[in-house]
Symmetry: C2
Subunit: 330 residues, 2 copies
Amino acid sequence: MAATLKDVASKTGLSIATISKYVNGQTIKQENKEKIDAAIKELNFKINYIAKGLKSNKSMTIGVLIPELENVFATHIMSRVEDTLMNSGYSTIICDYKNDTDLERQKLSFLLNRQVDGIIAVPTHLSKDDLAGLEIPIVLIDRIIDGVNCDCVLVDNKDASFSAVEYLINKGHRDIAIISGPKDVYTARERTLGYIDALVQYSIPLNESYIFHGNYDTQSGYNLTMDIINMQKRPSAIYVTNNEMTIGSVIALNECGVDIPNDISFIGFDNIDFAKVTKPNLSIIVQPRDEIGVTAANLLIEKIHDPDTEKRVIKLKTSLIKQASVSIRK
Amino acid sequence: MAATLKDVASKTGLSIATISKYVNGQTIKQENKEKIDAAIKELNFKINYIAKGLKSNKSMTIGVLIPELENVFATHIMSRVEDTLMNSGYSTIICDYKNDTDLERQKLSFLLNRQVDGIIAVPTHLSKDDLAGLEIPIVLIDRIIDGVNCDCVLVDNKDASFSAVEYLINKGHRDIAIISGPKDVYTARERTLGYIDALVQYSIPLNESYIFHGNYDTQSGYNLTMDIINMQKRPSAIYVTNNEMTIGSVIALNECGVDIPNDISFIGFDNIDFAKVTKPNLSIIVQPRDEIGVTAANLLIEKIHDPDTEKRVIKLKTSLIKQASVSIRK
DNA sequence: CTGTTAGCGCATTCAA
DNA sequence: TTGAATGCGCTAACAG
């Protein structure tokens, strides 16, 4: 059995309260300090966070809700979230909902039942009703939900697309295809809007047949790229809007012998490691994944410490890494 | 504030003990049952797992330790682990150690300090010393550590390689390259051994220059494949031994216009989705990821319920999915 | 600076 | 069946 404060107390002859105070950072007579340290080491005493939690009504654990544990974008962020929280003494319970609407609710309530002190979620179908009236702070990533008092960490998706498409336009491209995500997903809608904005701003007629909607997985990136390759009037550039679809798209182009950038220019999304591997390296929109994770974790911690802080929506900038996958079109 | 047993008790006029018993499944007078149900609903009472944990000395949470949250193989398994544990009422604290030896120990002790009821780990550098003498059950995945009383879930890595290479040999290949993992990693050693075994068994001379050691990431798969492509005497087949390196390898082959399977035959590893995307579909060794996760979780739960069970080592079979990426060599 | 005491929410005796 | 009482390990007054 693990040693308790009581054990340390009786070993040292001091009282439980004194040990507790010392362990929690209050000042103590030097002499006692040493006695306690010795006893702690000898008994291998560890603080019992359960008991502590019962007393303080805090579990020192945070729940995290993500679409899928195989989603590299999400897990990268979670990795930073976990580190940041751990440095503040929190542990992290990660739940994934496998892109399933019912599971999303179910796992949320699982976390809620677990006395977590806060939640960080990358929601897909959660609505106001699911989140209103909760007693603990919640930070949302990647999507804002109106009418609910949750902090948010977003990236400027519209601007991301805008800058990618603008870059292509400035290189002389006018026939630009976009492989976007599902129409009912917030990020996908925003990314499509940015694409349209750029075309409008540069007075390039919008060609609906250049707008493709995948479902953010590798296969759909592959399939839609095949469709693009086989188009009557093939665009001179493709802009792909997430990690997995970028891989699928490159595979398709490679397989068909469509050369990047001579036959087609290419801008991908998110997959920075992958972009470095291909030749030529891919131009790519990168999201500040580390910053997203750290920011979300910090927002949550602050909100826990001071629940009255105003709702904050942090919008982070993406950046466009320009590499050799885009050619000049005359 | 959340309602407690006490609140339900005073609302119903019954005692705390009775409510507790009912909530935990003991039989109760029908009449009271209804009263309690009503009160629970009205007060939105939820069991407090912290208090319960203090009493029972169980936290109902399991710690999970993985190399990296971006490792798709690991996270897929964890996804199944999490589901399985949740169905038994456990929550899951996932920690990743970013492939760092110090962090690996550090996060392990973080979990140990957290009153988890058990741990599931995918270890890299943990040794007997780190695991000996722990008071809670531990299940290891992917690697066995001698002299320690931990259950293990492994796959037969040697056999996996053997069957891949044997298949190539039966197709007439004799010059077969392997892209294996780091020499100090258990799975990589086993996979290399299986490769060698197959050659030996079929009396094919071992060519050391066909054995490559990457570090299990996309970039090294790409680089080593480039090396292979540029070899004086290029092998007629490549066998790549993990998920990420398989992607890197295919990218390299595609970029150099090396046709699969006409110019080179190819067998990959793990990446079943990716294998379906490429044309031709890749032949691939697949590990039973779902089964690994479920098995590990079940082993742990059983061990928690009955700590005296003998140490068990479960070795699961991989399978070889045969697709068009391997050609017959005369 | 230290010790005494009460109580966090629950499960579990033991009586009734 | 039900209830009163006790304690899990810890923190937070308060008193010394």
